[in-house]
């Protein structure tokens, strides 16, 4: 409550006595504000670079409410623009030396606005209204090298809104020039003056009795936990058990549900076919390649692009009877398909009972079987050489030589047999003999041909002790 005066009956009240009554009430009002700690900028007066075009002014938002240390209320209802190019004394604030800076401080100060002029009993002019008002005060500190310029001191009767940095050649005050670290904002109640009930706390110190102590305890706890977390994250060993880390397995590729199990599962599968890194030398290399049943028919066992040339693209297939190794030929389920139709295809096939070389020179994009094959039938009755198939033509050498051992003219006969290098698929239908050198012996006749060869004979009438011969080539076609 306020101190008061007791005006009495028929008192002739003076101006001073009337003013005293208001003064006492106003003092009580300000004491109440000061007593409860109502000091600082409550709201508004937030600084920003001047808009729309930044200059050397700062805009303050409205409405603004504040109380100074004396409990006086400072208020303005419309936005204010503070000219920072000069201070409250009208002195320029510019920075003259490059590399220097200067701090300005914008203060808010209580004042009164006098109005409503009247003429008193002494015929003196007085102002009857004395409304609460405000002033914006710009104070400047000394110019100094950047980073070392001091800021203006705080004023007892004023409230600091913000600090403003001026630099050499500056034409605009931007957001980074505004500093609110010293702003004297209203604090409703110091944290140290607000009680807390700590009885049921599990982590914070239960001895804390104020908000400040509780926050201090929480900060210490967070710092401690942060330190532990950092050490945990940086620990080289034993940081976190992999068995306690779950895997999402979005692709559904794992049986394991945690990292430890997943790594064991992956490395188990990898190690079954490869040397693991912890097994010493040769890490990553293949062990024996083992494959499960891959399907039915003729299945692909291996494929390599080799050097990138399609003509040497290498594949291995397996079926119920044989393993096929091919170049430039892929089995498409019904036929062999060339990787490139510009090149021959080739390969070999081996089985438990035979071995075959394969060749296809017809350059069709696809073919049912290799056009030419050389097969060694290991379990056949005749198994000493290759059997050929396809367009087969064999050229070999043949020679007959004879002599008439008598002392008179006589018929001499020469004969022999030719064995083919390979066994033909059928009896040849044509055998052609071409002479290279002959003397008195005609071209032999061919007889008794079969898949393995043929016989030849020739006759000549020779004089006594004469010699005859025929040497040439045979060409057999089947």
């Amino acid at each position: 409550m306020a101190d008061r005066v007791d005006y009495y009956f028929r008192q002739k009240v003076t101006e001073a006595e009337l003013d005293l009554g208001f003064e006492l009430l106003e003092r009580a009002d300000r004491n109440l504000a000061a007593d409860i700690g109502l000091f600082g900028i409550v709201s508004g007066a937030v600084p920003a670079p001047h808009s729309p075009l930044p200059g050397l002014s700062v805009d303050l938002t409205a409405p603004a409410r504040a109380y100074d240390r004396a409990g006086q209320r400072v208020f303005f209802g419309t936005g204010q623009t503070v000219d920072c190019s000069v201070d409250h004394n009208g002195l320029p604030t510019e920075v003259t030396a490059a590399g220097n800076e200067r701090w300005l401080s914008v203060f808010l100060r209580f004042s009164r606005s006098l109005s409503d002029p009247r003429t008193d009993g002494n015929s003196q002019q007085v102002l009857f209204r004395r409304d609460e008002s405000f002033e914006l005060v710009v104070r400047q500190g000394p110019e100094a090298p950047a980073g070392s310029a001091p800021r203006p001191l705080l004023e007892e009767a004023e409230l600091l809104v913000c600090d403003v940095r001026r630099t050499a050649g500056q034409t605009q005050i931007v957001g980074t020039d505004l500093d609110l670290t010293r702003r004297q904002a209203f604090v409703f109640a110091p944290a140290g003056a607000v009680l807390v009930v700590a009885g049921l706390w599990k982590a914070l110190a239960t001895t804390a009795s104020t908000v400040q102590q509780a926050l201090d305890s929480a900060d210490a706890l967070l710092a401690q936990q942060g330190g532990r977390l950092g050490a945990h994250l940086e620990a080289a060993a034993g940081a976190h058990a992999a068995s306690a880390v779950a895997v999402a397995d979005a692709g559904g590729l794992l049986n394991a549900a945690h990292v430890e199990g997943a790594l064991a599962e992956i490395l188990g599968a990898f190690g079954a076919g490869h040397v693991r890194a912890n097994e010493g030398a040769n890490a990553g290399l293949h062990r024996a390649i083992r494959q499960p049943v891959l399907g039915a028919g003729r299945v692909l066992l291996f494929e390599s692009g080799v050097t990138g040339a399609n003509e040497t693209r290498l594949r291995a297939y397996g079926d119920d009877g044989s393993v096929w190794v091919t170049f430039n030929a892929a089995w498409n389920g019904a036929a062999w398909a060339r990787d490139t139709a510009s090149f021959y295809a080739g390969g070999f096939r081996f089985a438990r009972h035979e071995f075959a070389f394969l060749h296809d020179d017809l350059l069709a994009p696809a073919f049912a079987d290799f056009a030419k094959q050389w097969t060694l039938r290991m379990n056949a009755e005749v198994n000493s050489g290759f059997e050929t198939s396809g367009a087969v033509r064999e050229v070999g050498r043949l020679g007959l030589h004879t002599r008439n051992p008598t002392l008179a003219v006589a018929n001499a006969t020469a004969g022999g047999a030719v064995t083919f290098r390979s066994r033909f698929p059928a009896t040849p239908s044509s055998i052609t003999l071409a002479p290279k050198a002959s003397f008195k012996l005609p071209t032999p006749s061919v007889f008794e041909a079969d898949r393995d060869g043929f016989g030849v004979f020739a006759h000549a009438s020779l004089t006594a002790d004469a010699v005859a011969y025929w040497h040439g080539t045979y060409t057999a076609v089947a």
């Binding site: 059928a426 061919v446 004979f457």
Partner: protein
Amino acid sequence: MTVAELSATELVQACVVCGAQNRLPLATLRVGLGEGEERRTSTVALPPCASCGASEFLLRSPEGEPPHPAPGSPGHLHRLLVDHLYGRLALAEGGDGGGPGRPRPGPSDEELRRWFPGGLRMPPSKAEALRPTGPDDPLLRAIAAGKGRG
């Protein structure tokens, strides 16, 4: 192949040694060769090639020869032509068409029509069809650039 074409009156022979084509009247051809104990009836000896002198012997398929392992292949078709020629010559010479070592008839007309619907001539082989047509053949250029065949 050596028998390139067979008509009612002549045989067109492609020499396997020099590639020359020789047109041989059937009337000049005989079944068999040799005399007496050396007589062999399974062979048709063609005259020496007019270009290189090579002598070709066409061999009838022997008794009990199993079916050709690659029906439709050049070897099979040539076998049919040779057996057919042999049969025609043997019948023309009055052979009885059977028995070991004796002339036998060739393949049936039905079989010939099946495998030679366009006449008794060997089709050009796929390999021959792929032979370059000249120095500007695309395949030759591809081979020269290392992009073909081998």
